[in-house]
Symmetry: C2
Subunit: 331 residues, 2 copies
């Protein structure tokens, strides 16, 4: 069956607040570098107060992926919850402006649009503190059956697993996708997120996920092993395809008997790693849904190219259209 | 008398919404490249709808200047009006985070915090459409006498001249500053702004301004002449100091019999010229209030260094602390 969308993403609809910080800042606020922590309103206020002058741009893990997919030339849709406030309008504008369908209605009451306070240290690592705000309003009702059934791949971010209602939305979407003969993809999102939900992630990966995305820390956390290779051996056979990212070491893609080790793009000046994994997933899924199912190396290469653009500047959405970047690299 | 502040800026408190656009976009929306136009709510909505995915960061001409002054190590205060909404909180956070005192109370009702929709074309020029929002609430009452009397220089943006109440605030501040034996500085802001208010700007420059900032287009508009040199000859003697910026041609500083032609910083890759003039004024005034009254070339050089940092990235606030930039350039 033909599909209206290449990928539909379901995730938290978040506006990023990006500022520079030093390591002492992270220590002072008990943060673990490179990870995401959920924070409440009071903590968000206190933390923001102490942060440096910032820029705001649309974010959210799955939303970033779909935005990058659209920038690559893919057709994407996104399901996620904002409030109809100023930041909600910013999120709505940005994702539509890049060419993504965004059918979810904004909440008219309840908490404000979600914010992710991102502190970027001089080593270009980002440390994230997320105030979920209106995202807590996302429920199974927001999963647009029509959209999910019409997407080649339904892409879910692991962060959704942190809330029961979002998890219900997640499960509903996965079932609908499979019922329609589509594929389901998951990003593990964060090692602490994996720690919080290991059992159910393992069950999910083993039985319901066709394409898994994880970085080195996340896949090691999932299988509670110390080395990347041990995690690699575990994941083989557990889902149809696993694409494992390793920062400057590139990525490793596993599918049945196939194992590919693909180098990262060379000569990238890394400014801010926010959204690197999201962009990789976008490149990979763009290649995959664009006829590249039998060439996973090509998919991984596209992932690496998309990630390289994103980490070369502040923020998790592309500054240069990704289709142009790909053209300049691959011709 | 010793001063608590080096400079107090009075201007519109604005959040910038920056997106990339092509020349056809400007034509379609009847925009004049490189200038600022005031727009109403409806136009703001229509224009935003058509804009590309954007980033948000604090802006406002005089506010940018004071933020850059603080980043250089100067002590600054800013007077301007936001509403207590999400974007107002962003503005308030960013200017305080960079070390500026911001005593003006946020409005609790009326229009939302001002936005400037900035479209940046591939030639790095910015074209601005400003929805003034809560700025229309700024009045003479907001001019904190204590702050103005305690600042070595009171810096005013020409944009304030577009509204009678803001003009009243402007005049009150200038009088208070002079009464306290302080100096008053004005930026002409925009050639169309000069066209709208030529007579009163001329009167102001001749009788009330100690330090004038203008770019080439603005000073030519003020004196209705065709060449930079003709404008230069006009301005000599009309105010104590005039610092005239000429983009890649650097700046020309005039004071009585002195005329200095100072080159721009070399080897700058220009990404976005938003805030270049604001940053120049900051560098100049930092040098001036930091004991450099008798070395206007040094002041102009600091202006050029600050502007070079600002135009090397998206947005009008520094990404690298300007005191570090100056140190690396001047030792």
């Amino acid at each position: 069956m033909s599909a209206r969308y290449d990928v539909v993403g379901i995730g938290n609809a978040i506006v990023d607040v990006l500022a520079q910080a030093d390591d002492a800042f992270l220590t002072r606020h008990n943060m673990t570098k490179g990870t995401m922590a959920l924070i409440d309103t009071d903590t968000a206020d206190t933390l923001y107060e102490d942060m440096a002058s910032a820029i705001e741009c649309s974010g959210g893990s799955a939303a970033n992926t779909i935005a990058c997919l659209a920038s690559l030339g893919g057709k994407g849709a996104f399901i996620g919850k904002v409030k109809n406030d100023q930041l909600g309008k910013v999120f709505n504008h940005d994702i539509k402006a890049i060419g993504v369908d965004f059918p979810t209605e904004a909440a008219t009451e309840g908490p404000p649009t979600a914010r992710c306070l991102i502190n970027v240290t001089p080593d270009a690592e980002r440390t994230m503190s997320t105030f979920l705000g209106a995202c807590v309003e996302l429920s199974a009702e927001d999963v647009d059956t029509n959209v999910v059934r019409n997407a080649k791949v339904t892409y879910l971010e692991g962060y959704l697993w942190d809330r029961e209602e979002a998890k219900a939305a997640f499960v509903k979407a996965a079932q609908q996708a499979h019922d329609a003969g589509r594929e389901v993809s998951l990003s593990l999102s964060d090692p602490f997120c994996v720690d919080r939900h290991r059992e159910s992630f393992l069950e999910l990966v083993e039985n319901h996920i066709d394409i898994l995305f994880a970085n080195e820390d996340e896949i090691k956390a999932l299988y509670q092993v110390d080395t990347f290779d041990a995690a690699l051996q575990h994941v083989r056979g557990h889902c149809n395809i696993a694409a494992l990212t390793r920062s400057s070491h590139g990525s490793v893609v596993v599918s049945g008997d196939e194992v590919h080790v693909v180098d990262a793009e060379p000569n990238v000046t890394v400014i801010d790693t926010t959204g690197a994994g999201d962009a990789y997933a976008a490149g990979f899924l763009f290649g995959y849904t664009d006829g590249g199912q039998d060439d996973l190396v090509h998919c991984a290469r596209l992932g690496g190219i998309a990630a390289a653009e994103i980490i070369s500047h502040f923020g998790a959405r592309p500054e240069t259209p990704l289709d142009e970047v790909v053209k300049s690299k691959l011709g």
